[in-house]
Amino acid sequence: MGRELALITTIFKKDLVSEFRAKESVVTMVTFSVLILVLFSMAFEPSRRTVEEILPGLIWMSLIFSGILGLNRTYARERFNDCLIGILSTPIAPYQIYLGKAASNLVQLLFVEIITFPLYFIFYDLNLKGSLGILIIIMLIGSVGFILVGTFLAALTSNLRANEALLPVILFPLLMPVLLAAIEATSAVFTGLSLDQYLPWIKLILVYDLIFLVMPLLLFDYLMEVD
């Protein structure tokens, strides 16, 4: 168990260090998210009512689009210099590669969220009626679900030609449940509904997280097989 965790951490650290040094995706992701939120705030002068209605969707959509930019990079980096073959020639198991990469992608996404989230409050003059703590939990578990599926599918598409364009196309249908649940739950916190009114959405997100934690563990060996 300790050994396995050490292998996962090794991949996680390597990915984070090379990402934050190259700054390729993180900078693009942050720029993209900030651009979206600024553009939207200028495009239609939102009244308080419409803000509460559209903002949750806007937040999640911009997160997912900027997240995809990062996901497309994770395996591209391994293809460069054939590093993936180097990794697969060592004793690490493919699911450990997956978990390490998912963790690194999650940290990058959370980094983007921490930078952009306060900006939503500033640009949209938002005052939160529900609990900030619950909002953070929703952002966190929703991001986990997105990253787990995304890291899995990015491995699949990275083998294919035109993979950058393909990832969003196959990712979105699979993301529907977690995306809708996250938007509903976020919106409920914004408008200050009581927890039991949106608890089912939170449960749905958690179930989704669990499924996509376990499923790739079973399938990832096949995905990572080098032909």
Binding site: R3, A6, L7, T10, K14, V17, S18, R21, A22, R77, F80, N81, D82, C83, I85, G86, I87, L88, S89, T90, P91, I92, A93, E225, V226, D227
Partner: protein
């Protein structure tokens, strides 16, 4: 010792390897020659346990049935014309990364030892994207040997090297051989690295077309045999 028994592999409808068996006893250095598309790299990846054959078996060391694939991979080091290195990481970090994947203890001392051996101590903390082709090659050799493997598999390691790089790699191969390592090298050159080779296999269309020792073999003989076997 590394052995492949009755290895077959198809891609789609294409038979890339057809029932191939090779055995390289401990300490032997075997070169695999063959035209492009003969299946050399495929065979190497299967022997390295990176890719699975459709049928057949790979045995490494003595007790292959007891060991897990993970344990067996510890006995193998691969060198290719790709470096398998991460440009944003330093030389040290690259070796540390792979050393950790091998679950090595006492890693720091090993890294220093192997980096000295390839003469890169001064560049230890520099990011790999700043490296010249020659430095990259040395580091990729260090990477392949960090865990002191018994078996070294090489896939066209001389591709793209200048004269200096060629002699460096030849020195490394000689060194490995004198340490009784088992070596299998895929190549398409009749000269580079051939000095220390014990045995040559010619692979053509997924089959072993010839298998002969290099003792008393003249370079002209080798070329003649090769063209005989591959022409058909």
């Amino acid at each position: 010792m590394i052995e492949g028994i009755n290895i077959s592999k198809t891609y789609g409808s294409k038979n890339v390897l057809r029932d191939i068996s090779v055995r390289i006893p401990m300490g032997e250095f075997v070169a695999v020659l063959g035209p492009n598309g003969a299946g050399k790299s495929t065979l190497l990846k299967i022997l390295a346990l990176i890719s699975k054959p459709d049928s057949g078996q790979v045995i490494i060391g003595d007790q292959s049935l007891i060991n897990t694939p993970g344990e067996l991979k510890r006995k193998i080091g691969i060198i290719s014309h790709s470096s398998f290195l991460y440009p944003e990481l330093t030389a040290y970090e690259n070796l540390q990364f792979f050393g950790r994947l091998y679950g090595m203890d006492n890693l720091e001392a090993q890294i220093i030892a192997v980096i000295k051996k390839v003469g890169l101590l001064l560049a230890l903390n520099e990011q790999v994207y700043t490296f010249s082709r020659g430095m990259l090659q040395r580091l990729s050799i260090a990477r392949a040997l960090i865990h002191n493997p018994e078996v070294i598999l090489l896939d066209e390691p001389f591709t793209g090297l200048d004269q200096h790089g060629i002699s460096l790699l030849q020195g490394v191969l000689r060194d490995l051989k004198s340490n009784h390592k088992t070596i299998l090298m895929v190549t398409h050159s009749f000269e580079d690295g051939m000095n220390d080779v014990d045995r040559i296999l010619i692979l053509n269309k997924g089959q072993i077309a010839a298998d002969f020792p290099t003792e008393n073999l003249l370079s002209e003989d080798l070329k003649r045999i090769y063209h005989e076997k591959v022409a058909c």
